[in-house]
């Protein structure tokens, strides 16, 4: 037993900061999520409700985060924008991860023509600038977050596909899987006990990065006026709208920036530092 403790003490030559980072990441993310989803319950203000008397008013007890340039509640808008970004990011990641991972397993498992066909498909998406895809889709449906969602999913799935394919290819030929097959276990068991436990943590990492990417992309597209349109609260759009008032009301402009910052930072922390 001394052996085990000793060698792990030795191999851990660099301090294990990753778990701490993850804990911080999950905590921050949880707080942001709580803020986004609890605010409408505690503070049921319509994020598009304007009161032109309060334009750009500073935070106060009656309006904790102040008002924007149309006298809309920043608190309500920020929470709504976070819900939109989080929801879109979550949905995109989910719709990218599930088929991506399944196709990856399928390709590695079946090999041959299936593998080659799927890999070529992956290469096509890889070679095409993802942005183009998103831009075109947002041009088809200019007002709806739907286009953003489909576009981002289409860009993201490839990552899961490649990852699961590579992992599955190694695992499928491993002695462990060979042993399970000899012992009489079928594909369902192999996926459940061999592949999934190996793939899941990677997927978590990629998903966290993917969500961060999605949130950044949505904000960036909002900034170039593609994607969702006013008056829908969206973080990038809020920044664009509040940008001209950066001198008059810096607190207003800072809020969406801090929101994006915290979201992306927490997701990056969750993803850990390895999988860039």
């Amino acid at each position: 037993m001394m052996t085990a403790t000793m060698s792990s003490a030795i191999t851990a030559s660099e301090p294990k900061r990753l778990p701490v980072g993850r804990i911080v990441g999950f905590t921050v993310l949880a707080l942001v999520v709580l803020f986004a989803f609890l605010t409408p319950l505690v503070w049921p203000v319509d994020p598009t409700k304007q009161s032109l008397r309060n334009v750009l008013a500073a935070p106060s007890w009656s309006e904790p985060l102040g008002y924007d340039h149309l006298g809309r509640s920043m608190l309500a808008r920020l929470a709504a924008a976070l819900r939109l970004s989080l929801g879109l990011a979550f949905l995109s990641v989910l719709t990218a991860a599930v088929p991506g991972a399944l196709l990856g397993i399928l390709a590695a498992w079946k090999g041959g023509i299936v593998d080659r066909a799927l890999s070529v498909l992956g290469d096509v998406f890889l070679a095409l600038p993802g942005l183009l895809l998103v831009l075109m889709l947002t041009a088809i449906a200019p007002d709806s977050p739907w286009a953003l969602y489909v576009g981002i999913s289409l860009v993201l799935w490839i990552e899961y596909f490649r990852l699961t394919r590579a992992t599955t290819r190694t695992l499928i030929t491993s002695p462990a899987v060979q042993a399970s097959r000899l012992l009489g276990f079928g594909p369902a068991y192999i996926i459940r006990r061999h592949l999934w436990p190996e793939i899941a943590p990677m997927i978590l990492t990629v998903a966290a990065f993917g969500a961060a990417t999605a949130i950044m992309a949505i904000a960036a597209l909002g900034f170039v006026s593609v994607g969702v349109r006013p008056p829908t609260p969206e973080l990038g759009l809020m920044m664009t709208e509040l940008l001209p008032y950066y001198e008059e009301a810096p607190h207003a402009l800072l809020q969406p920036i801090i929101a994006v910052f915290l979201l992306v930072l927490s997701l990056n922390l969750i993803a850990g530092r390895k999988a860039q």
Binding site: V120, A139, V226, G236, M239, F261
Partner: protein, 311 residues
Amino acid sequence: MTRVLGYRLFQALLVALTVGVLTFIMIRALPGDMAYRIAAGRYGYDMVNTDAANAVRTELGLDQGGTTALGQWFSDLVRFDLGVSVVSGEAVIDEVRHQLGHTVELALAAVLLSLLIGPPLGILAGLRPGGVIDRGLLLVSSTLRALPHFVVGLLLIIVLATGMGVLPAAGHGEPQNLILPALTLALGLAAVSSRVARDAMAGVAGSPYYAFGRTKGLSDAQVLRRHGLRNVSVPIVTYLGVQFIYLIEGVVVVETLFAWPGIGHALVHAIFARDVPVIQGTALVMGLMFVLLNALVDLACYLIDPRRQAA
């Protein structure tokens, strides 16, 4: 190497094919009347009206079938003819060349700057994992990665241009105009490439051959030079290939913010105006550029890494 380049060629063909078909289908699926959209792009919102749209429809033969137009595009493509912008009437190839030049200039400057910033810092951090530089760099790169491009760009403008007045805020034409947009992109790139370099360096510095180099009697500098840099540069250069995607996406935002007349900016406009030939041409060129850059990355890796030459 031939195999790798062959694969890239195959990728290039795939790009041409999919860009053609995909943009075509999508453009056909775009809502609204194409003739009106083009007229709006051509004549502006004050002048777009039904007369203008009808004139556009007749002039461009928008009533012809989709497949005919697609076939035309492909047969022209074989002759390297990308057609004429339906908005400006210029040859697409000329427009794209003009804009691409600016984008390439910007992207190249950004990549060079990021290479000057990111990897050296990352290598320093990777030599002492957990040290002060490592922790400091982690903090800075995490912060930069969590800030959208345009926020970084704006901060730079506000500090360096309107605040200190040492650099122009936006525009292009003068050499100084390049610095801020390039720096904006470079900071984003370096935030990631420094981490890649750091992880690679930490891996190399912890490797048995690095330790062996030291016990052979080489000094720290000698070990770094002989056994560190080459091994670290392979993952860094490989990662450059991934960064080009990021670059293309960053370019769209940075170009509009800094009024840089590049291809990303043009693409957004072309989509608004439904300039199908320009969209196709731009997307095609962007896709091919991406493939070409990755081929260059392959080539660079091949030159750096003797294992690839031996294989």
